[in-house]
C-alpha cells in the first residue's frame, strides 16, 4: 500500500473503515509524497507534518470507536488565507509572513470537528489577487501536468496539491474564479458555492461581496462531501444564509434525463483556444447523450461587461479591506521613518507586492471623490443587469454550462508583465461570481496534454442540481481522479 495518496477521499474512507490501513499510514503516505514532489510543485507555503500526524492519531481513535465521519482521517490542504490557530497564515503576502492567528476560522473548525487531517497551508496569489500563483510572495506553484506552466490561481496551491497527490482534498477560496480556474488547469474538480452558503469568519478578506470558501477534490463526490461539511449558517458571518440546506450527497448517482441545460453563446468568442472549444463541444454531446436538453441559443448579452464590473468592485472592496495592514497591530512593520504616517506608507510599500498595490490603487481611485459615480456606482448598476439576465435564464434552464477557462495552463512568466492579459483568464468565471451564483468546474478531457475544465453554473443555493449534473457527466466520462504522470 505505497500509493495510498492516489485514493479519492471516499475510497480512503472505505479503506479506513474496513481497517485496511490507518489514518497515520495514509497521512504518512501523503507526507512521503509531499517529500518526493514538493520541490517541483511548490503547492504549500507551510507543510504541517507534525500537526498532521497528531491529528491522524486522533482520527484513528475516532475510527476505532465508530464516531467517524466521511472526512475523518482524510489528509487535506488548507489555503493559506484560512486562519488556523497557532499555525502561520500568510495569505501569500510578505506583510503576514510571520502572522500566527490567535483563533480558528469557521471552515477550519468544521473540518477539524469532522476529523480531517491538515497536511499544510497551500500556496496562493497574494491576498487571492491573481490567476497563476505567480503573485505569491513565496514563489509560484507549478502545474503537476507540466512543471513549466502555472497551476492557475489564486487557489493554485490547493488545486496543484490535489492533482499531485500531496493531499486528497483541499479548501480554496473563490472571488472571481480562484477555485474553478485552477481546478480546470490542474484537471481536478472545484466548486465556488452560492454567496452566503459558507461562513467567511476567519478568512482573510479580499472582496467581501464576492468571497466564498469552497472545496477542491479529485471527483464530484469528494467535493460534495467537503462542501456539506463547511456549509451552513454561522452567526459570526451575518451574510450566511439562515435557511437549512439539503445534503448534497443526495444528488449523487441520479438520472439527469430531461435536465434543461443552457449554453450562452457569448462565451464562445475569440480568445478561446480551438482545443478547449473541441473538448467543450464533445462535453455538450455527452450531456445530450445523457438525455439532457442542451440549448445553445441562450444569450446573456451583459456577459461582456462582467470583467469591468468585477475589476472595479473587487479592487474597491479590497482597497477598504486591506486598509487594516498598517504595521500597528500585527504583520510586517517598517519603523525606519520618523512619523507614524511614514511608517505606514513604508510598511505597505515593502509588505505588499505589485499586483496588490495595483488593485488597492485601482480601488482607491474608483472610490475617490469625483469618480465614485462613474466607476463604483456604475459597476454596481451593471451588476444588477447581469443578475437579472441570469435570473431570466434560470426561468428556462436548470443549469448553465460553459467552458471554465479560455485556455489550458499557460507557461510561467507568459502574462506576468501584462495585468490585463492576466485578468482575461477569468472571463468565463467572473459573471457567476458577480451574480453570487454557485459554479463548479470539472475535467472534460485534455488539449495538447493539458486539462480542460467544464463549468456548470446553478441558481442561488441550487448546488444540488450542479452536483447532480457534474456527477452524471463524470460517471459517463473518463476523467475522474485522472492524475498527471508526475514521476
Amino acid at each position: 500500500m505505497t500509493d495510498l495518496w492516489r485514493l479519492t477521499a471516499h475510497e480512503a474512507h472505505e479503506g479506513l473503515r474496513a481497517r485496511q490501513f490507518t489514518s497515520v499510514e495514509l497521512t504518512q503516505a501523503v507526507l512521503d509524497r509531499v517529500a518526493a514532489v514538493e520541490a517541483r510543485v511548490h503547492a504549500y507555503i507551510t507543510v504541517t507534518a507534525d500537526v498532521a500526524i497528531e491529528q491522524a492519531r486522533e482520527a484513528d481513535v475516532k475510527l476505532a470507536t465508530g464516531s467517524a465521519t466521511p472526512l475523518t482521517g482524510i489528509p487535506m490542504a488548507v489555503k493559506d488565507l484560512i486562519v488556523t490557530k497557532g499555525v502561520r497564515t500568510t495569505a501569500g503576502s510578505r506583510i503576514l509572513e510571520n502572522f500566527i492567528p490567535p483563533y480558528d476560522s469557521h471552515v477550519y473548525e468544521c473540518v477539524r470537528r469532522a476529523g480531517a487531517v491538515m497536511v499544510g497551508k497551500s500556496n496562493m496569489d497574494e491576498f487571492a489577487m491573481g490567476s497563476s500563483t505567480e503573485h505569491s510572495a513565496f514563489g509560484p506553484s507549478h502545474n503537476p501536468w507540466d512543471e513549466a506552466r502555472v497551476p492557475g490561481g489564486s487557489s493554485g496551491g490547493s488545486a496543484a496539491a490535489v492533482a499531485a497527490g500531496e493531499c486528497l482534498v483541499s479548501l480554496g477560496s473563490d472571488t472571481g474564479g480562484s477555485i474553478r480556474q485552477p481546478a480546470a488547469l490542474c484537471g481536478v474538480v472545484g466548486l465556488d458555492p452560492t454567496y452566503g452558503r459558507v461562513s467567511r469568519f476567519g478568512i482573510v478578506a479580499f472582496g467581501s461581496s464576492l468571497d466564498q470558501v469552497g472545496p477542491i477534490g479529485r471527483d464530484v463526490e469528494d467535493v460534495a462531501t467537503l462542501l456539506d461539511c463547511i456549509s451552513g449558517h454561522d452567526p459570526r458571518d451575518s451574510t450566511t444564509n439562515p435557511e437549512p440546506l439539503p445534503d448534497l450527497r443526495h444528488y449523487l448517482g441520479r438520472d439527469v434525463r430531461g435536465m434543461r441545460v443552457g449554453v450562452p453563446r457569448e462565451y464562445f468568442v475569440e480568445g478561446m483556444e480551438p482545443g478547449v472549444r473541441a473538448r467543450i463541444d464533445e462535453a455538450l454531446k455527452l450531456l445530450e447523450g445523457l438525455g439532457c436538453e442542451v440549448d445553445t441559443s441562450l444569450s446573456l448579452p451583459s456577459t461582456e461587461h462582467a470583467l469591468a464590473v468585477y475589476y472595479i468592485i473587487a479592487p474597491s472592496e479590497a482597497s477598504a479591506n486591506l486598509a487594516r495592514y498598517d504595521g500597528v497591530k500585527y504583520g510586517f512593520s517598517d519603523r525606519t521613518g520618523t512619523t507614524m504616517w511614514q511608517n505606514m506608507e513604508e510598511t505597505r510599500a515593502h509588505g505588499f507586492g505589485n499586483e496588490v498595490k495595483r488593485r488597492i490603487m485601482l480601488g482607491t481611485y474608483a472610490l475617490s471623490a469625483g469618480y465614485y459615480d462613474a466607476y463604483y456606482l456604475k459597476a454596481q448598476k451593471v451588476r444588477t443587469l447581469i443578475n437579472a439576465e441570469f435570473q431570466a435564464a434560470f426561468a428556462k434552464y436548470d443549469v448553465i454550462v460553459t467552458p471554465t477557462s479560455p485556455t489550458v495552463a499557460f507557461p510561467i512568466g507568459a502574462k506576468i508583465d501584462d495585468p490585463y492579459a492576466m485578468y482575461l483568464n477569468d472571463v468565463y468565471t467572473l459573471p457567476s461570481s458577480v451574480a453570487g451564483l454557485p459554479a463548479l468546474s470539472l475535467p472534460c478531457g485534455l488539449s495538447e496534454g493539458l486539462p480542460v475544465g467544464l463549468q456548470i453554473v446553478g441558481n442561488f443555493f441550487d448546488e444540488g442540481r450542479v452536483i447532480m449534473l457534474a456527477d452524471a457527466f463524470e460517471r459517463a466520462g473518463k476523467w475522474a481522479n485522472c492524475l498527471p504522470d508526475l514521476a
Binding site: 461581496s209 500597528v328 521613518g337 512619523t339 490603487m361 451593471v382 443587469l385
Partner: protein, 95 residues
C-alpha cells in the same frame, strides 16, 4: 483615461503606499491601460437601475446583545510589531 504621474501619487497617498519614481511611471501606464478597458461601461444604459451591493436579499441581520468572551490581552498583543505596558506602540500621531 490617462492617469498622470501626479494622479498616481495622489491615489498612492490616499492608499498610504509610498512609491518609487519608477513605480509611479509604471503604475501610471498600467492603471491607465486597465481604466481604458472599463470605458465601455459608460455606454451601458442604467437609467432607473438600482445598484447591487450584495447578491443576496439579506439586510439588517440582528442578534441579541449578549456578553461573550473575547481574546485575552496577551493573545491580542502576541503578533504586535512593538508593544509596551500592554499597549500597541507606534510613533507619535500628533506633531
Amino acid at each position: 483615461m490617462a492617469l498622470t504621474n501626479h494622479d498616481v501619487l495622489h491615489i498612492a497617498h490616499l492608499a498610504r503606499i509610498s512609491l518609487t519614481d519608477a513605480e509611479v511611471e509604471k503604475f501610471a501606464v498600467q492603471l491607465s491601460g486597465i481604466l481604458d478597458h472599463f470605458a465601455a461601461l459608460a455606454a451601458v444604459p442604467t437609467e432607473g437601475v438600482e445598484p447591487t451591493a450584495h447578491p443576496l436579499p439579506l439586510s439588517n441581520v440582528m442578534r441579541e446583545d449578549e456578553v461573550a468572551s473575547s481574546l485575552s490581552r496577551h493573545e491580542v498583543l502576541a503578533n504586535a510589531p512593538q508593544q509596551e505596558d500592554g499597549y500597541f506602540r507606534v510613533r507619535g500621531v500628533l506633531e
